[in-house]
Structure formats: structure tokens, C-alpha cells
Amino acid sequence: MTPDLECLNLVKRFGDTTAVDTVSFDVPRGSFFSILGPSGCGKTTIMRMIAGFLEPTSGDIQIRGRSVLNTPPNKRPVNMVFQHLALFPMMTIAENIGYGLRRKGMPRDEIARKVDEALERIGLPGIGNRKVDELSGGQKQRVAIARCMVLEPDVLLLDEPLGALDLKLRERMKVELKALQAAFDTTFIYITHDQSEALVMSDQIAVMNNGRFEQIGSGQDLYYRPASAFVAGFVGDTNRWSGQVTRIEGDEMEIRTDSGLLLRGASHGRPLSAGDSAQIFVRPEAIRIAHDTEELSHFDNRMTGRVASLLFNGAASRIIVQDPDGREEIEVNLPQSGEFAGLKRGAEVHIGWSGAQGNCFAAGVR
């Protein structure tokens, strides 16, 4: 089956700056694909090229196997949910949803039927005569999606549509968006700088940085098997040190951080050799905490330090441990068993983690 969307060596330059640098990817039919990256990484540029509001400098965009480069935006089989939704304030909700159908020249009664159907589908029946500004943020969101979905596009583009919502609503909309996507069974392309949005909703995520795709994969892939230092640092929380590789044996290796700490890590098949400068990433939840060193004997990284501060945050509570010489601070998850609930600032703790959890990347590649 041809993918719904395929981008081939997409490049976009604005003057001297390259916003999108040779990006290729394809999105299989019916999947939820996210492009995740910090602001200014070029993700909006890709989105606007797919929608037809920007012309690529080179490369090709194909929808269901056909190039759309010469198709103007109003003729492309893609629709877009804009960042600020762009609902037409001068029209009612029903007129908003029916806008695209009117453009197709559909008869009036059929438009009315389809609009009612769409409102039903997004769980807002009977609000057709309301004005846009009478709706809540979440309702507007759903109307914006319905407005596109009545046109049955091959691909739906969503440009950070949750950005303007408050935290609680955003959490709920994540679940709802995923459900809507499943209900409409349409390919969604979603861009965001919020990793949790991408991780929760997507089948596939592309992590983008400086105009390039760093890695494409499932949420688990990105989290547990990052392909680059950027992905390791950008997706999820992590401890990060830079230093120099002192020894390497197969996949196992040792690195001395700039502050002199000696850590064991793993290269996971990346070409590293002794003497290289490198970065090592260790997730806070990969580090175990114990009352005495015995419990940690099976770990190849062990350390005794003091609690520098306690970061209570319910289930996601952490402590910051200072190593004995006070050179480094290490974030460590507290186990949820409540075993360490009585921990005080300044208390002595033992921590340890396995070398396989220390992900090493050559420095400079970023």
C-alpha cells in the first residue's frame, strides 16, 4: 500500500538559512505521526510546505503516491488545524464546518446533514447556531477538527493545536485527539514541541533539530534507544555529563567526566574509541537508591553522597544527590514504595546503576 504522505529529500532555504535540510519520511495510512522539536527547528516549515503555503526549495511531497507540488493549497487533499485554530469569527459553528463543503458546491440540505453528523461525532450536537466566541477552548478545538474532517482529507495536519489550552484541558484533549483519530481513521500529522503530547498520542515520532530529522521511531524507541545525543537529551528527563572516553571494551566503556568522576556506560554499537570526548546520559529512574552499599553490589556504577535537595512531586518525586567531593549533582527518582519518604536534606544515601543504562554519544555531533 502506498503511504498516505511521503516527503523526499525536502529542502527549504530562506536566504542563507536552511530551515529544512534534506528531510525524507513516509507516513503509513491511518497512523498518527508526530514531528517533535524545539521551536525554530523547522517543523512548522515542513507543515506549511505540505499544506501548500510554502514552496520547497527542492525535493518532493507526495500524497497517496501523487506529487502535490504543483497543486495550490485549496486543491490539495490535506487539511490543517491551525495553531490558533483559525475558526472564522464572522460565521456560526455550522457555517464554519460547512465552509469547505460549500466550496465543493454541495447542495444545501446535504451540507446541513453532514454538519449535523460531524457535530454528533465530536460530541457537540445542537451547537450549530452558536457563535465561535461562545465556545470553550476544548469545544473550539473539536470544531476545528470537525471542520476539516467533513472534507474527508487524505491527511490532516495539526500545528500545535493544544498550545493555547491550560494544562488540565491539554491532558484531556490528548486522549480525546487520539480517540478522534481512531474514530475518523485518518492519517494525522501532528507537530509539537511538547514531548508528552507526542509520546502519548503518536504511532511514530520524528524528532527534529536544526532542520534535520534526528530519529524516527515509536515513543519507546526514542525513550529507550535514542539514536543521538540530542534525542537522548530532548526526550524525557536525564542526567547528562560530558567527558572523555578512557577505556572501551566491546559495548562496555568507561568515561571520565570533566569534573573527574569515573562512570561506566555503554556505546550501544556507536563507534567510539578511547580518548574521544563524549557525552553520557543516565535517566533518573534508572538509578537505584539504597540504605547500604550491599544492595547495590550488582551495579557497576556505585556512589555514596548526600541529599542536596528534595523535589517532592507526588509519584514523580526526586532527590538531587551530591557526590562525596561535591563535584556533580545527580537527579534520582524516589521509589514509589514510600521506603525513602523520611529522607532529609543532608542525609547520606547510596546510589547505583548499571553501565548499560549509561548511554554514550560522541561529543560534537549533538
Binding site: 506549511r48 501548500g52 503555503f53 510554502l54 514552496e55 495550490p72 493549497p73
Partner: protein, 283 residues
């Protein structure tokens, strides 16, 4: 039709051509007026007789320049005095109105606001005659009652100032109110919190914030007064402001002297406009 929507080259080219034509249309009369101020001829029209400064600095007939033409100089002075009074009055009342409509809620406020806007939709000439009628009736009344002759109620500069003020005040109010609307009232609360009393808070925090709008309103009021014709025409006495004086000359036939005056006006107005833009931009 925004830059991100692709469109045909022909459409883009014709749109650009239209815009260019529009600006030529806009500039043409002004350029013509300016250029013929330097024509060495008795008439501001072709043929071009050569370049001269005489219409500015000439001091002998038949080419008496602006700077030696007494009546015109006096008219400029009259206009400036009128404009200064109108501006001060308008900005003062405008400031008071802006605070009134922004800070207070009182019964009848909505109606009063609409009433305040009305001068904008009354033709200037009607404003002029209504004030003329009212003032002369008042003058007659005073004479009949107490044998007072109040010169200010006869056509003259006082009436011109009041007539212009009657609609310029609305514009000044709108300009100042628009900025006051954007003012973050917690700033004033912060000043109160830091020990200022209400009046001091307004004086030290709100008024400086409003300053660009007040300067803007002053300049707009000044220019509107300086250029006003319709209302002034009905209320003017023996001292004619510049627009009226020029109008009388123009009826007799034009000489490049009028071009020279016009060019000076353009320069001064543009200067004032620039001052205003900078005042507005500083914030």
C-alpha cells in the same frame, strides 16, 4: 491573497501596477503644487519659465515672495494662534473625557458616549452655522437685557476657536481614550501600594504613560485646526486664518505665491507629523 498563497504572475504584476498607479494619483497634485512654486512666471502653469526663489524671497512687484507678503504672514500667525488654543482646549477636555469614560460607571454613560461621538457625523458647515446662530442670539439677548455688547459672541477668532474645538475635542478624546484603554490599572495600584495617593499615582504613573497619546492628540488637533475650512468659513470675522485668506486669493486668480505658501505648509505639516510618529513610537 496573502504572500503564502501561490498566485499567477500576471495577477501579482497587475496588482503591483495598480498600487503604483494609486500612489502616483496620490502624489500628483502635491508634486505639481510644489514644483510650480519655483516657476519664474505669473501663473502656476506651463510653460516652465525657469527656476526662481522669488516666490519665497522676492521683495519687489510683481514677484513678492511669501516672506515679504504681510497679509499672508499675518494669516499664518492667526492660524497658529487659533490652532494652539484649539489644541490645548481639546487635549484638556479630551483627557478629562477619557478618564471619565474609562474609570467611572454612571447612569446614562452609554448615551453620553454616543452624544460625544456626534460631532463627527455633523457636517462642519452645520456646526459653523449653528454656533453662529446661537452666539448671535445670545449676544442679542445680552444686549436686550443689560445693554452688554460682548464682542466675543460676534463672528471672530473666539467663535472660530470654539467652533473648531467643538469637533476636534471628540477626536482628541478618542486618541487619548484608546491609549488609556490599554493602560494596565495594576500599575496605578502598585503606585498606591508603594505609598502614593490617588492623585500622585495618576500624575506619576498614568499621565507619563498617556504622554505619547497626548502629544499625538495635540498634533492632530493642531493640524485639523490649521487646515479647517468649513466651520471656520462660517464663523470668521475680520482676522482671516490662512486657509480663508488663501481661499480669497484663489478666487481672484492664482499666482505661484500660493504654491510657495502651500509648499511651506507641506513642509511644516510633514515635520509635525514626523514629531508625532516619533512620540508615538517611543513607547
Amino acid at each position: 491573497m496573502i504572500p503564502s498563497i501561490p498566485r499567477s504572475r500576471f495577477l501579482t504584476a497587475s496588482y503591483t501596477a495598480y498600487i503604483v498607479l494609486f500612489f502616483i494619483f496620490l502624489a500628483l497634485p502635491l508634486v505639481v503644487v510644489a514644483v510650480f512654486a519655483f516657476n519664474d512666471s505669473q501663473f502656476p502653469s506651463l510653460p516652465w519659465e525657469g527656476f526662481t526663489w522669488s516666490w519665497f524671497f522676492g521683495d519687489a512687484r510683481p514677484m513678492i515672495g511669501v516672506f515679504h507678503e504681510r497679509p499672508i504672514l499675518r494669516a499664518i500667525g492667526t492660524s497658529a494662534i487659533v490652532a494652539v488654543f484649539v489644541s490645548i482646549l481639546s487635549v484638556g477636555v479630551g483627557l478629562s473625557n477619557a478618564f471619565l469614560f474609562n474609570r467611572y460607571r454612571f447612569p446614562g454613560q452609554g448615551i453620553l458616549y454616543v452624544f460625544m461621538l456626534l460631532p463627527l457625523v455633523i457636517p462642519g458647515i452645520v456646526l459653523g452655522i449653528s454656533i453662529l446662530v446661537a452666539s448671535s442670539r445670545a449676544a442679542e439677548g445680552l444686549w436686550d437685557m443689560a445693554q452688554w455688547d460682548v464682542a466675543a459672541l460676534r463672528p471672530g477668532l473666539t467663535l472660530v476657536i470654539l467652533g473648531q474645538f467643538s469637533f476636534v475635542a471628540t477626536i482628541a478624546t478618542l486618541v487619548i481614550a484608546a491609549r488609556l484603554q490599554k493602560f494596565d490599572q495594576t500599575l496605578e495600584e502598585a503606585a498606591l501600594n508603594l505609598g502614593a495617593n490617588r492623585l500622585t499615582a495618576v500624575r506619576t504613573v498614568t499621565l507619563p504613560y498617556l504622554m505619547p497619546a497626548m502629544i499625538g492628540a495635540f498634533v492632530v488637533a493642531f493640524l485639523m485646526s490649521f487646515e479647517n475650512f468649513n466651520t471656520t468659513l462660517m464663523l470668521v470675522g475680520s482676522d482671516a486664518p490662512l486657509t480663508i485668506a488663501m481661499f480669497d486669493r484663489l478666487k481672484e486668480g492664482s499666482t505661484p505665491l500660493l504654491n510657495a505658501v502651500s509648499l511651506l505648509l507641506m513642509l511644516v505639516s510633514s515635520g509635525l507629523a514626523l514629531i508625532m510618529i516619533f512620540a508615538q513610537r517611543r513607547d
